[in-house]
């Protein structure tokens, strides 16, 4: 795949897609398209006018972003089913939201689509977390009834693009066959408390069912700041960021 992005500018003739249109005279005028693709790489110099406009912004930005907040034992990336990055972020949201909400929180969830960049191995800067979580989403604490809890795990099992904390799900044929939340099996006769972004809470990421859930609290703190705070907390304790694939989502044949 990578090769595809690196080939030289290429000219392509698109003759059969001629644009024909009638002119006032009886002869026809034809627009013949030809295609060329450019990959912007280091072979292009910086346009000085553009660069001049960027510089003051870049300096201000670097000052704000170039701050090491923690260290990671390895590169944490996102992928389907269960991922290092998904587990780390879901845990961070759960742990940090417990510092902002007085009641019990049973689980947290984050969609892979919301994780926009990996956390690198070694020093972790504020900029890495902005790239990971660029969105200005805030924290919602929701109370899920049985149907909503089930719908959440149904979606996870179907799409395999959600990361959960404090939960384990066994998936067979894209359906959850066993669900464990907060150390115990999922029970039908009770509710569960979920820490989640306002984006998902308002039905984004295919979670229409969350729109019906009871909002216990809208916490005016950004999800990004929760992650930053968690990394700072670990650093202050001398702990490096880490995550494992530990079987939170188990696929069985």
């Amino acid at each position: 795949m990578k090769q595809l992005y690196l080939f030289k500018p290429l000219a392509i003739i698109l003759l059969p897609a001629l644009v024909l249109f009638a002119c006032k005279t009886s002869s026809r005028t034809v627009l013949v398209p030809e295609y060329q693709l450019f990959t912007i790489d280091e072979s292009y110099a910086n346009d000085s006018l553009t660069e001049t406009a960027i510089v003051p912004y870049r300096e201000q930005l670097e000052q704000a972003m170039d701050i090491v907040i923690g260290h990671s034992t390895k590169r944490l990336t996102e992928k389907e089913v269960e991922s290092l990055l998904g587990n780390f972020v879901a845990d961070a949201i759960l742990e940090q939201s417990r510092l902002h909400y007085s009641g019990t929180i049973h689980l947290s969830v984050i969609n892979n689509g919301g994780l926009r960049a990996p956390i690198p191995e070694g020093p972790v800067k504020i900029s890495n977390i902005y790239e990971l979580m660029p969105f200005e989403n805030i924290l919602y604490i929701l109370e899920l009834n049985t149907d909503q809890t089930r719908a959440l795990f149904d979606l996870l099992a179907r799409d395999k693009r959600l990361a959960v904390a404090n939960s384990v799900v066994i998936v067979q044929d894209s359906k959850p066959t066993k669900i464990f939340i907060d150390g115990g099996p999922f029970k039908e006769d009770r509710s569960y408390v979920l820490a989640v972004s306002d984006y998902l809470a308002s039905g984004g990421g295919g979670m229409e069912f969350l729109k019906e859930a009871k909002v216990l609290e809208k916490v005016n703190i950004k999800i990004r700041d929760l992650i930053v705070d968690q990394i700072k907390l670990l650093e202050s304790k001398g702990i490096q960021l880490d995550a494992e694939i530990e079987g939170r989502v188990k696929l069985v044949p």
């Binding site: 290429l10 000219a11 698109l14 295609y35 790489d41 346009d47 200005e136």
Partner: protein, 305 residues
Amino acid sequence: MIDQRRKFIKRTIAGSIGLNLLGITTFGDIKQSSDLTILHTNDMHSRIDPFPDDGGKYAGLGGMSRRAQLITEIRSQVDQVLLLDAGDIFQGTPYFNLFGGALEFKLMSQIKYDAATLGNHDFDNGIGGLQEQLPHAKFPFIISNYDFSRTSLSGQFDPYRVFQKGSIRVGVFGLGIELTGLVAEQLYGKTRYIDPVSVAKEMVQQLKSLDCQLIVCISHLGYQYQSEKISDRKLAEDVSGIDLIIGGHTHTFLPEPQKITHLDGHSTLINQVGFGGIHLGRIDYQLTVGSANLTQSSKTVKVNN
């Protein structure tokens, strides 16, 4: 010169029939003069600087200063350039978080973008956040299927524009994706989404009535979906008369424009060039007064497709 070009065209038509079903023939480094050059980007996602050199897939690629340099070079080679963007200008780097999109709009204005359409992420700071940055954009936003009349953005955007580029009249309209489920409701407010297919049909009629020779749609619908969701491909199939769709949203990297041919013989080209300003697409149109020969050749090609 013209003779030479015709000979060249005839040769490539013959070649394309033999070579592939798409009828798109690929050559290395062909440079011809152009009567209209359309340059396009999509989903630049606040990628002002190149992707960081972190060993990732796109490390070191992109960057607005380099793109500006390339565009300046192209402008020095051809007279008529139409520079378009298909939305999601905002969101993806801290430049957006810190400055709200001001720099993106300023640079695009400086690089002389002719128009852009709106992507879902352009609503990420809400209607108010977008409105706040609009004074930095010296280019129009073209969006045909969002009704902003009940929002503070009422009257800020055009449903279509006609660009006179040399002797060619280009009609441009814009299509946005359904916002419900993609963007938090409090961000898009009372913006109303209108069915893109019916709007596109109206736009084609409107732009034809204004004597546009080329009809271009800048779209943030997305290239293609497994579901029935409206996409650029579906739009091209459902609506005849659009010559070119410059797409976005799905971050699709098409190595070359894809062609959809209608029953009436008209063809629509669809292109999309990934995201993050990694690529710039360029489509050169040659204006040729067709001889009987050429017209016939064109018809032959269409029948074969």
